[in-house]
Symmetry: C2
Subunit: 121 residues, 2 copies
């Protein structure tokens, strides 16, 4: 998944706001089941309409998607988009300074890298 610089800016911008970063964290921890808008509003202590605006920003950046379940609307993270965003960041990072990435690898070695992508090459 390759993306333009404008995409990266939009994704960074979507996360560059306390409430939205909080939403992102909550959705990441929730995993594929996702979280409803109301539940997010309650747990983050934000007005429902305010939160709705933030969720729109996250969705337009492609970082999240929504699905309806009864009366609720469930939000989930679009993992591939998150991945390509970090990818873009890391590639720019490594461009002139490979050693900057070493701590990243360490983060993955502490239980993050070998959990079921299905790719075994």
């Amino acid at each position: 998944m390759v993306q333009s610089e404008a995409d990266t800016v939009a994704q960074l911008n979507a996360l560059a706001q306390p409430t939205r970063l909080g939403v992102f964290k909550a959705l990441m921890q929730a995993g594929p089941d996702g979280v409803s808008a109301g539940e997010l509003a309650r747990s983050l202590d934000v007005a429902p309409n305010t939160l709705s605006a933030h969720l729109t920003v996250l969705c337009r950046a492609g970082l999240t998607s929504q699905r309806r379940d009864g009366r609720s609307i469930i939000y989930t993270v679009e993992i591939p988009v998150v991945t390509s965003m970090i990818d873009a960041l890391v590639n720019d990072c490594c461009a002139g300074h490979p050693e900057a990435c070493a701590p990243l690898r360490r983060a993955q070695e502490t239980g993050c890298g070998d959990a079921g992508t299905g790719r075994a090459s």
Copy 2:
């Protein structure tokens, strides 16, 4: 280097703007030698005063630092801060979804991970 969520927001916000992301890329590619403000203004085609404002944002977020060299002011990236920013992002990412990190590892395997950190464990 541990940082607060507010730090992460400030760092993401600093990069969430086309000109500033361009500056960041240029400084990353330049490496430790850095680039002068005027050179950045010329190569990115931005007015010097406008660029100065953007450089201030990057510095206040901790992502860059400045040093004077004659009449010029040279800007360089603060690699440890960049590293901890990506670290924060990746940790939130991995929290509920370890497989999202796999492509990151691949990015490092393509020539990014084993370049002179001095750590050989």
